[in-house]
């Protein structure tokens, strides 16, 4: 039972209402900051949501690398006696990326070009991160509370998964 509880606390489950709120925050942020794209990624490297123009790059890969990059700097921070770095910035010739920690397990990844400035992006990223952190805390508390899920996966999921795995990997 204790393990199940732990699992629930760790697992991120998003419902429609959560995603609508997250989407609104990200859209507003993009408008204010003049950035191209905002991606929310959890620390495991799974994308939570994306707003703006992401071009044709692979979002799954970006998400995994963002999470990896953040995890690596966490180790650096630890060596320096910091718990973690809350903001990371990668500057390119045309496009740059800023990562901001949201709460304790999600990362706001902002991709922007020379049409805006780092200062503006950082200012609004900081603002929206705080709003999102409140939202994520609620999601976390809800998960930990053991409250029944608002929505479930279809009863057929297990059987359907087996069929799909057979199709993909052979019987």
């Amino acid at each position: 039972m204790r393990d199940e509880q732990k699992l629930r606390e760790q697992r991120l489950v998003f419902y429609r209402d959560d995603m609508e709120k997250i989407g609104r925050h990200l859209t507003e942020f993009l408008k204010l900051a003049g950035a191209k794209c905002a991606i929310l990624v959890d620390k495991e490297g799974h994308m939570v949501d994306k707003r703006g123009e992401s071009g044709d790059f692979d979002l799954d890969t970006i998400s995994a690398l963002v999470a990896g990059s953040f995890a690596a700097t966490k180790e650096m921070a630890r060596i320096l006696g910091e718990e973690q770095f809350t903001v990371l910035f990668h500057q390119g010739q045309k496009e740059s990326i800023q990562l901001t920690l949201v709460g304790d397990r999600t990362l706001l990844t902002v991709i922007f070009d020379e049409s805006t400035t780092l200062g503006v992006v950082r200012l609004y990223a900081d603002e929206v991160s705080k709003k999102l952190a409140v939202l994520f805390e609620k999601i976390k508390v809800r998960g930990a509370s053991g409250a029944p899920p608002e929505e479930g996966i279809s009863q057929e999921f297990g059987g359907a998964a087996k069929t799909r795995l057979d199709e993909l990997f052979g019987k």
Binding site: D3, E4, K6, L7, Q10, R11, L12, V13, F14, Y15, R16, D18, M19, E20, D42, K43, E44, G45, H46, M47, V48, D49, D58, D60, T61, A64, L65, G68, A71, A72, K74, E75, P148, P149, E150, E151, G152, I153, S154, Q155, E156, F157, G158, A160, A161, K162, R164, L165, D166, L168, F169, G170
Partner: protein
């Protein structure tokens, strides 16, 4: 940890290939990449050293596609096997939903296997995860090499937990998919156990019901019957067309409005005006019908009043009618009284004048 996104209809799982250096973890991933259908795989990304050893991780997104309405994705990672990369290995392991331990079957590699397995156990423990609780599959790789241990020996030495094992020659692609499949199945089974049941219990309707309010309410009545939530019917009910599929077998148009009321307990009040203008004829018929149906479902909620509403609706039009009738009576009486008075007065006048002459 598995991320479930009901809004995007997505399930994301993280699978980590673990094992000693040179045991074939990256080769496993490369073979998955080579053999998986194009529309199911993303880019294979490696953060490797000059010597082609994994520095941080290899990463391959694998899309299982739609599974019971959820787009199910696996993120496959490998860790660096070399002992001195433990900090990065631990980072990659964070949040893993399942682990494939790639063991080297060669006799001379047994110590490395054991050390790596112990390291996996320890790193998991540091994340608060007991190795017994996480889906784990052991792959006995390099079965084609000389001087390999028998599977029995490997089982005895490495498989303390009795987890599924697969023999493999990853470099030839043998055993690669069966290993991944075995683990994927375990991960998804776990997920199904936790969240699949929820749909069964009728918790799922909460959301569809909200959707039904927007338009398609058809499924709502069906769920209302099975679901435990009394909140569902009121939401499903607002659409007056909802019930029509239910009594499909029976007289189509008339029963339709009838079940709408029983199921829609609370909303009956706002809807009361609608039935009136809508069909002029049905009102009398629904009223006898709802009576039996709501009786079963209604008692807990406010269904009774709603069931009564249709019956109560007719009286208002009746009220004005009696008023008109009684008004007419009064007028008639007044006319009669006035006529009588006039006749009496006329008679008196005539009598008076006659007496005078």
């Amino acid at each position: 940890m598995v991320q479930i996104n009901f809004a995007r209809k997505e399930v994301n799982c993280k699978i980590v290939f673990y094992g000693p250096g040179m045991s074939g973890k990256t080769t496993n991933l490369e073979k998955v990449y080579e053999n998986a259908p194009d529309d199911h795989k993303g880019e294979l990304t490696s953060i490797a050293t000059e010597g082609d050893r994994t520095l941080f991780f290899d990463f391959l997104p694998l899309d299982l596609g739609q599974v019971a309405g959820m787009n199910t994705k696996f993120q496959l990672y490998t860790v660096p096997g070399q002992v001195y990369y433990n900090s990065t290995r631990k980072l990659v392991l964070q949040g893993a939903d399942g682990v494939i331990f790639v063991a080297d079957s060669q006799r001379k590699k047994m110590d490395e296997n054991l050390e790596s397995l112990g390291n996996l156990e320890e790193n998991l423990r540091e994340y608060g995860v007991d190795i017994k609780d996480i889906p784990l599959v052991i792959q006995y790789n390099k079965r084609d090499m000389p001087d390999v241990l028998s599977v029995e020996e490997l089982e005895k030495t490495l498989n303390k937990w009795g987890v599924p094992t697969v023999e493999a020659v990853a470099v030839k692609g043998q055993g690669v998919f069966p290993t991944l499949k075995a683990l994927a199945q375990m991960v998804l089974d776990n997920l199904n156990k936790e969240y699949g049941v929820a749909a069964d219990k009728g918790k799922a309707p909460a959301k569809p019901a909200a959707a039904s309010a927007a338009g398609t309410a058809a499924p709502a009545p069906a769920r209302a019957g099975t679901g435990t939530a009394t909140a569902t019917p009121p939401r499903g009910a607002p659409s007056p067309t909802a019930p029509s599929p239910k009594p499909a077998a029976g007289p189509a148009p008339k029963p339709a409005p009838a079940p709408a009321r029983p199921s829609g307990a609370a909303p009956a009040a706002p809807r009361a005006p609608t039935p009136a203008p809508k069909p002029a004829a049905p009102p009398p018929k629904p009223s006898p019908r709802p009576a039996p149906a709501p009786a079963a479902r209604a008692p807990a909620a406010t269904a009774k009043p709603s069931g009564l509403r249709p019956a109560a609706a007719p009286p208002p039009p009746r009220k004005p009618q009696p008023q008109k009738k009684s008004g007419g009576m009064v007028v008639v009486i007044i006319i009669i009284v006035l006529a009588a008075a006039a006749t009496l007065a006329f008679a008196l006048l005539q009598g008076g004048s006659g007496g005078g002459t």
